[in-house]
Structures are given as structure tokens and as C-alpha cells.
């Protein structure tokens, strides 16, 4: 049951346009929902065959609960899956379309149901922290390529790293050495004729946090990941305010010499991306803000300070797990990798100082709502509804031309938790930008 209205908790299907066994194409009407404002068609999110229609016409269905299942061709039709809650419910709609139309829209998006549901976490041994779960093939490949498996997030059951994960990790085959761009370090990879994509990570993270998204981005776009001051490989800088921090980022941006770029920012990086958009609007092709900072004072200060302070895996793990909706995603190996990246005490000191400045008393001490109102480039705002760091309702400050994507059962780090969705949304903006460029050229 998609959420098509802001205050909607349940939806009522008035009629089905398909029956059990109907073959549908993405975009075909599936059913009609009635809200207190209007009736509206819900289109198929994918190609396939409809099975297991749970929701009868006339009944109220909670948001996010599956109402039917679409099987791709060849997929074995199993017994009806349990329709009950928390269901990583409805296949995502095609984002971008309504956002592009300029209407305020809030698109319900959740994990793709077309992939088999993950196995229960319960079974299986916990992988030791320094030895992540990986297939023999992945291990061999990692050995051959000199890749540290602890830095890779596995896509298999219980986070198992398979060959493809190692290959994907290496996909930016032309990863250049980190380079200084003014005050900060950036990492370039890939390339091609497409408009580059600039990624700004969040507080207490570094550019590795994008590892799962980068391989899923469309080919032909260079990817540039910036390390914030005192994060990753960027040196710590004296920062007295958010404005100081933003200036460093803008300086690095200018030094990097972007002509046009898609900017993606997460959390603190999201706030910085917004600040960047405010002063360098003409250089931005699009803006993707993932749970950005600065849209309200509320936050989970314990989590961010906890992250900044953590000096060992054991004290880091609970805060990392708080970042995501499904704590199983943060395997011991993942924690270990994250701690490895924070091993330098001076880095931790710098981050604590930054937190003291930006998030004093557990409050977001800077306000970017005005900047959001001014944003002129095509913008998407993504937020997990299970975000425990910044409340997702801060997204509701978005102006009409910003497309809102609220993700069910996703926490503060959608690019970790649902990288396919994040990549698809960025790709949509890139496609849109390309289409506009083509139209302009034709004119």
C-alpha cells in the first residue's frame, strides 16, 4: 500500500485493474486508491505477473503492507508470502517523474520486493570481526587484488561478500590516487562523457561510505568523493562554525574545477551540499540530499557524539547500529572496518571538536531551511522513515519543487541500506539532466 497522501496511515483500494495471473508492464494501472481527497490510480512498478492479491477492494490496508506480489518472468511462484507489517512492502515507484513535474510529491519507496526476502539473521555463526563472511572466491580475488575484505560490504545473506562484491569494490577500475583540492582531499574514479557526480559523506564517515552505491551508478559519469575536514584523508582544519566548514568545501569545490556536477550529500554532507548549491547554483546539474543536516534542530546527539568518541569497535558498534534500521546490516566485520578507518586518535579528536561546534548540546546549530527554499536546481530529498538520527519529518520543510522520497524501514544511511534505490534516484536526475540538455541542443 503506497502512501499517496501526507497524513495517510492506511489506504483503501476501491478497485483492482488486474487479477491474479495478469501480466503487467511497468506503468500499467494496478488498482485505484481512495483517499479523503481523491481517488487515484496506482501503476505497476515493474514488469511481471501479478500474484497473491491480499487486499480486497473496500478494505483498509496499512501503509507499507504488501497488497499483491509481482513476480518476474521465470521466478517460481511460491506460497503466498506473509502479508503482515513492516513488510518491506511495495515495490518502489518510478521516482523522478512526478518530482520533475514540479508538483509537491511524496513518493513511497521501499526495498524492491522482487528480490527474494533475506534469510533470517538468527542462524549462522557470527563472523569474527577481523574475518568477514566471504566466499572462497571473494577471498581469493581480494588476495589477488590486494583488497582488504574488511572494507567491503557483502551483498549476500548475513552480509556475505561474494565475488561480485569484490569486483564491484574494484569497479572504479581507474581509481586515481587521492588528490588535494585546496584544503581537502578528493577521490576520483571512473570517467566518461556524463556529468560527474560529487559525493559528500556525513559526519564521522568517510568516502568509503559510498562503496555500495558507486558500482550501481550509471556508466559514463566520473565519480568524485570528497573527504570532509578531519575525515578520511583530509587534514583537520580549524572550524568555528558551519559557515567555516562550508567555506572549506566550497574552496575545495572551486579548486577541483567542476564545470557542472551532480552533487549528492548525506547528513552533514547533505547540509554542505545544500550550502554549496546556494552559492554555486550554476555549476550544479542536480542536488540529491540524503537525510541532510540543517533542516531542524532535533537530532540524536548521543549517536553522533558516540560515533566521534568511539575508540574501539565495541564502543563504536552500538552507535553504528543506531544509524540503520536493520542492525544486522552492521556486521562485526563492518564495525571493524569502520573502526580501522578511525584508528588515528587525532582524527577522532578533530571530529569531536567539530561535533562540539556543529552539534553543541545535541542540537543542530545551523539552519539551512532558507537555503532549501532557494534551491533552484532539480533536487531530491531522500529520508528513511526509520531514521533515528535526524527525524524524517524535517523533510516536510521541503518546497514544492523538491521531490521527496521517504523510504520505509530504512534508517539514517539509505546508501548503505538501500543502495539500489539511492543509485536509481541519482540516475534519474542524471537522465533528466541529459534529456534537458538534448532538448536544448535540439532547440
Amino acid at each position: 500500500m503506497p502512501k499517496v497522501d501526507m497524513d495517510m496511515a492506511t489506504g483503501r483500494i476501491t478497485s483492482w485493474s488486474v487479477a491474479e495471473g495478469t501480466r503487467v508492464k511497468a506503468g500499467d494501472p494496478l488498482f485505484v486508491i481512495e483517499t479523503d481527497k481523491a481517488a487515484m490510480d496506482v501503476d505497476s512498478p515493474a514488469d511481471g505477473v501479478v500474484h497473491h492479491i491480499h487486499a480486497e477492494a473496500g478494505t483498509d490496508v496499512p501503509i507499507g503492507q504488501p497488497v499483491a506480489w509481482i513476480y518476474v518472468d521465470g521466478e517460481t511462484v511460491g506460497p503466498p508470502p506473509n502479508p503482515s507489517p513492516s513488510g518491506r512492502g511495495w515495490p518502489r515507484e518510478r521516482p523522478g517523474e512526478r518530482g520533475a513535474a514540479g508538483a509537491p510529491s511524496e513518493q513511497h519507496t521501499s526495498l524492491n520486493t522482487l528480490t527474494p526476502p533475506p534469510l533470517p539473521e538468527a542462524e549462522g555463526l557470527a563472523a569474527p570481526a577481523d574475518r568477514p563472511r566471504a566466499t572462497p572466491h571473494a577471498r581469493r580475488l581480494a588476495r589477488e587484488r590486494g583488497v582488504d575484505l574488511r572494507l567491503i560490504l557483502g551483498s549476500g545473506p548475513r552480509g556475505r561478500i561474494a565475488r561480485a562484491d569484490v569486483e564491484a569494490y574494484q569497479t572504479p577500475a581507474v581509481t586515481a590516487a587521492p588528490e588535494m583540492a585546496g584544503p581537502l582531499v578528493l577521490h576520483r574514479s571512473g570517467g566518461g562523457p556524463g556529468t560527474p557526480v560529487l559525493l559528500l559523506h556525513g559526519f564521522a564517515a568517510d568516502s568509503h561510505v559510498w562503496a555500495r552505491v558507486v558500482p550501481l551508478l550509471p556508466c559514463g559519469h566520473a565519480v568524485i568523493k570528497l573527504d570532509l575536514p578531519g575525515h578520511g584523508r583530509s587534514p583537520a582544519r580549524s572550524v568555528g562554525s558551519f559557515r567555516d566548514l562550508a567555506r572549506l568545501v566550497v574552496a575545495a569545490f572551486d579548486r577541483a574545477g567542476f564545470d557542472r556536477v551532480h552533487v549528492v550529500g548525506h547528513s552533514l554532507g547533505g547540509g554542505l551540499a545544500l550550502a554549496l548549491a546556494d552559492v554555486r547554483a550554476r555549476r550544479l546539474a542536480s542536488l540529491t540530499l540524503i537525510a541532510p543536516a540543517g533542516l531542524g534542530p532535533e537530532m540524536d546527539g548521543d549517536a553522533l557524539f558516540g560515533l566521534a568518541r568511539a575508540s574501539r569497535a565495541e564502543s563504536l558498534a552500538p552507535w553504528l547500529r543506531r544509524l540503520v534500521a536493520d542492525p544486522g546490516l552492521v556486521t562485526d566485520g563492518f564495525v571493524h572496518a569502520a573502526m580501522l578507518a578511525r584508528a588515528d586518535p587525532s582524527l577522532r579528536t578533530a571530529q569531536q571538536a567539530l561535533a562540539d561546534c556543529l552539534f553543541a548540546d545535541g542540537v543542530q546549530c545551523f539552519d539551512l531551511q532558507a537555503a532549501l527554499q532557494r534551491v533552484a536546481v532539480p533536487t531530491k530529498l531522500l529520508w528513511g522513515r526509520a531514521d533515528r538520527v535526524f527525524p524524517w519529518r524535517q523533510a516536510l520543510h521541503a518546497p514544492g519543487r523538491v521531490a521527496l522520497h521517504l523510504l520505509d524501514d530504512i534508517g539514517h544511511v539509505p546508501h548503505l541500506e538501500a543502495p539500489d534505490i539511492v543509485a536509481a534516484l541519482i540516475a534519474d536526475l542524471a537522465t533528466l539532466d541529459q534529456a534537458r540538455a538534448d532538448t536544448k541542443r535540439a532547440a
Binding site: G74, T76, T135, P136, H137, A138, R140, G156, P157
Partner: protein, 349 residues
């Protein structure tokens, strides 16, 4: 069963007579033809077994051979599995080349002493002073409604015994070639013939040829996953592979043909290529042939190429039931194989 006919003979490892006429024969006819050739070519060859004379064998495999070769060479034995098997062992030990037919492989339980303690071990125990060139044929497997005492797949028991060779042909071509290879082999060879295969047809060259014992056949090359099967599981695995191809999964199907000694090289090369392994066998899953195949791979240099857990699709932990639906449920069917392969390839295990 129709798929069995589609199993291409693995030309690389066979030695057919050049230019030999190839006809479509049933699996049972191919075995009979092999026995006739053996009887013609070697006066030491004798067939022994219960009701293999004028009756023609419980599954009509010996058929009319008694009329062609006489009752001294196509010998009915009394219903004495232990004694009969032992007589075959003693005859082989002293210069004959007996081919002993069990009516059902289940009855081998009555003869285990002679097979396991005597046939398999005599050469070794006597320091190489003797050999036991006996061939034993076992109609095996489920699917005929014969229930628990006439449907077992016990090949793994024999595969556990050093000194025995164990083969499990899946096609008429291999049934003939392996039987002739077995007759020439100086050591005891146990041939497990799946009863559901007897009537399946396939191309069989005329005349004498052998299929080497110990060589598996890649009967469908593929990229994504290695499916190792034997006997009637081979046509089922091939059917599953055809279904999977429609989903974009390219399965390599290997017909083990011999389960002792296993063809390590072929198995290792295939898994190193496909990175995934599904072992399919009708025998009870626990401690079965597929268990050995998966252990072999796990211990081998192919280990470092595995990109998914090895999966076994074996028989249920139950005696073979009578009722048709239960009987089907007790052993892997095409859909079970396809589902297991999908799970492995899609990273769901």
C-alpha cells in the same frame, strides 16, 4: 524420461568403432547388446542371476540371451543372493568373467558379505596375488511404486568400499560402453542401472566400444553453476537446466557416470569455471554420493573459486514410500533441482 534420449554421448571419452552404425536403442537393449558382445568375444564370460534364463530377467534385460548362448553361459541361479554373488566371486577369482545380475539392488543387502569382505578385498589381502574380475549389475532406484525394499539407491554404500569400482550409467550409450569396460576390468565393478532408465532410448553404436570407468561427462556445458548428477538425475538435471536457461541461468550438467573412482579433474575444472556447485543424487542425502562430491570440491583447489555455498539435492531421510505422490516427494524432481540452482545462483543460500 524423454530427456534421457537427449543426453549426448560424450564423444571425447569413448572409443566407438570408427564409422560404426549408430541406432536408437533402449537402455535395456544396450546392456543386452553389451552382454551378447562379451559372451561372443570371450568364452570365460558367463551371466548369472535369478530368472535371467528363459524368463529373460526381472526387467527383461538378459531377454533372449539364454537361447543364443545356452543355459551354461546364461545361468539361472537359485534365490540365493549371498551364495550366488559368492559363486560369482569365486569363479572370477579362478578364471571366469561372471556378470552377476541382482534382481533389485536392494537384494545386495543379502550379499554384502561376499561383495564387501571378499570381492573388494581379496586382491589386497592376498598382497596382489589374485584379482576378482566380477561384474555385478544392480537394478536400482525409485519411481516404479515398488516401495521401500525394491527402490533404494545404495550406490554410496559400495562407493565407500576400496577395491570396488562403482558405475551408474545414465544413457544407453554409456550403459553399453561401461558394461563392456567393466567386463574387461580386472577388478570388481558394480553397475547401478536405474530402473526408470531401462526403457529410455538413445543413440548406441553397433559393435564393441568401451566408456572408460572413472570418467565423468560434461553433458551440458554452462557458465553459472555446476550441477553434478548421475543415473536418472541426469535427465532431470538437464530438464532443469533447460528451464533455468529461460531465466538466464546457464547451468553446466555433469554426468558422473562413475562414482568410484570419482573423476576429480572434470569436477574440479568445472567448479573452478562456474564457481558454484549443486550435487544432485537420488540416494539419501546424508553421507551420499553428493556429500562426497561436495567434500572433494571443498578440499580441492576449486575451493578458492567457490562463490556460493555448495548445495546438495538428495533423497529424503525416509524409506521410499509406496504412494505415488509420496514416492515423488522422497527423491529430487526436476523442479527441486531447478529451485536449488536458482537459490545458489541468486545468492539466496
Amino acid at each position: 524420461m524423454s530427456a534421457a534420449a537427449a543426453v549426448a554421448p560424450a564423444t571425447a571419452s569413448t572409443t566407438p568403432i570408427t564409422g560404426a552404425v549408430v541406432r536408437d536403442l533402449s537402455y535395456a537393449e544396450a546392456i543386452r547388446e553389451a552382454m551378447a558382445i562379451a559372451l561372443e568375444r570371450d568364452p570365460r564370460v558367463v551371466l548369472m542371476g535369478e530368472d535371467i534364463g528363459v524368463y529373460g530377467g526381472a526387467f527383461q534385460v538378459t531377454g533372449d540371451l539364454v537361447h543364443r548362448f545356452g543355459p551354461d553361459r546364461v545361468m539361472d541361479t537359485p534365490i540365493s543372493e549371498l551364495g550366488g554373488a559368492g559363486v560369482a566371486v569365486g569363479a572370477a577369482l579362478t578364471g571366469l568373467r561372471p556378470i552377476f545380475e541382482f534382481q533389485f539392488s536392494d537384494f545386495a543387502t543379502l550379499a554384502m558379505e561376499q561383495i564387501v569382505n571378499q570381492a573388494a578385498k581379496l586382491r589386497f589381502m592376498l598382497g596382489g596375488a589374485v584379482s576378482v574380475p566380477v561384474v555385478m549389475r544392480f537394478p536400482a532406484g525409485s519411481g516404479t511404486g515398488a516401495a521401500a525394499q525394491h527402490s533404494q539407491s545404495l550406490e554410496a554404500w559400495f562407493g565407500h568400499v576400496p577395491g570396488l569400482k562403482v558405475v551408474q550409467p545414465a544413457t544407453p550409450h554409456d550403459a553399453k560402453g561401461l558394461l563392456l569396460a567393466a567386463v574387461h576390468d580386472p577388478d570388481p565393478v558394480m553397475i547401478f542401472e536405474h530402473k526408470l532408465l531401462y526403457k529410455t532410448k538413445g543413440p548406441v553404436p553397433e559393435g564393441h566400444y568401451t566408456v572408460p570407468i572413472g570418467e565423468a561427462a560434461v553433458c551440458r556445458p554452462g557458465r553459472d553453476v555446476t550441477v553434478v548428477a548421475s543415473a536418472v538425475m541426469v535427465p532431470r538435471a538437464l530438464d532443469a537446466a533447460t528451464q533455468l536457461a529461460a531465466d538466464g541461468i546457464d547451468a553446466e550438467v555433469i554426468d558422473l557416470r562413475t562414482i568410484r573412482p570419482l573423476d576429480r579433474e572434470t569436477l574440479i575444472a568445472s567448479v573452478a569455471k562456474t564457481t558454484r556447485l549443486v550435487c544432485v543424487y537420488e540416494g539419501v542425502k546424508t553421507l551420499g554420493v553428493g556429500a562426497e562430491v561436495s567434500a572433494l570440491i571443498a578440499e580441492s583447489e576449486a575451493f578458492d573459486y567457490l562463490d556460493a555455498p555448495i548445495v546438495r539435492v538428495g533423497g529424503a531421510e525416509v524409506p521410499i514410500p509406496y504412494s505415488p505422490e509420496l514416492e515423488k516427494a522422497a527423491v529430487p524432481q526436476t523442479a527441486d533441482i531447478a529451485a536449488a540452482v536458482r537459490r545458489v545462483v541468486r545468492g539466496a543460500v
